[in-house]
Symmetry: C2
Amino acid sequence: MLKKAVVLLSGGIDSSTALYIAKKKGYKCFPLIFDYGQRQNREISSAKTISRRAGLPYTLLKINLPWKGSSLIDECIDIPRKRKKGIPSTYVPARNTIMLSFALSFAESTKASGIFIGAHTEDYSGYPDCKPNYFKAFEKVKNLGTKDGKKIKIVTPLINKTKAEIIKIGKELGVPYDLTWSCYKGGKKPCGVCDSCYYRARGFRDAGLKDPLTYKYQ
Amino acid sequence: MLKKAVVLLSGGIDSSTALYIAKKKGYKCFPLIFDYGQRQNREISSAKTISRRAGLPYTLLKINLPWKGSSLIDECIDIPRKRKKGIPSTYVPARNTIMLSFALSFAESTKASGIFIGAHTEDYSGYPDCKPNYFKAFEKVKNLGTKDGKKIKIVTPLINKTKAEIIKIGKELGVPYDLTWSCYKGGKKPCGVCDSCYYRARGFRDAGLKDPLTYKYQ
């Protein structure tokens, strides 16, 4: 029987690459997609399309976060146009902890042995819940707070990679980057201005590759 | 300005007592109630009624857990009639981790300084996510995985208390135990057979008090 993995899939470059890495490692993958009230649902459609392309049945979890406090879910707060030091307003309080706890519940219920998450430190060093010591702490919660958590491994295959390295790995694995979505805003084309567009553009440039999504970083 | 606290409220004896303790400590309380697809919604109505009685605005979070694996949310699995050693089938994978992560997100978004949870080890020693070392591990996740998590305290005021002690404390504080609900099954009257009915009955008996819910433990 194939070993199973729950893969957190947002529809961006990192999580899509993590999905293809899990597949390559021989896991039967179960993508877990969250609708937590993002101001745009473009990335959710991307995540669904990528799952379909990979021939995998996704699970979509709708969570209506009634509190706000992040420009990603609150339209009253502008998406920042310029990168500043510190934690950006796009930070969603405890987002990865919420997502990991659901992935853990899913994995334990279905006897999966892996949870894959595409988080990495290089680009988003502002987000506290993307750092190695955070995942180490969650590992302990997993082991102590569940019945079979010790049998489940949290895998962060990209944790120390740069965006350019991730793109190169994904290219080798055939990740359909044309279907991914990174922009914090919705719309037909990426805004080319937000942090996420910036890191994507820089990643492709540093990897020496052309982004299949045609837009220009301004 | 009053200090604020998010209080996880299930509608049972423990969480209702934790709510009244938080109130007594001078917190402005925000009860957080979960509808995670319990096979009965009697406890959710209790939680709402208790919030109203305490004059507090509750937040109800509806989570549609698409996976099952627990007799509390899966009607295909019987609620056990007899207590056995080990973790019972009423265990919901990673439930407290999911709830605490939402409480953390809520607390950080609203600048609350406390999260109250009525978990305790004595009665439910079978549940791994009710033990002190689990909460200690989650404390670390909170501190490392958020922006302002260090300012938020996770308070487990009942962690080492017995059910009888909890009932005595609540009685002093005026917790309306007639409005609480403990039975794992729904219905008009508690089943008087499940684990939760057993611990409730034993708690009142050991406290030398009469349960205001009139039913007989069989």
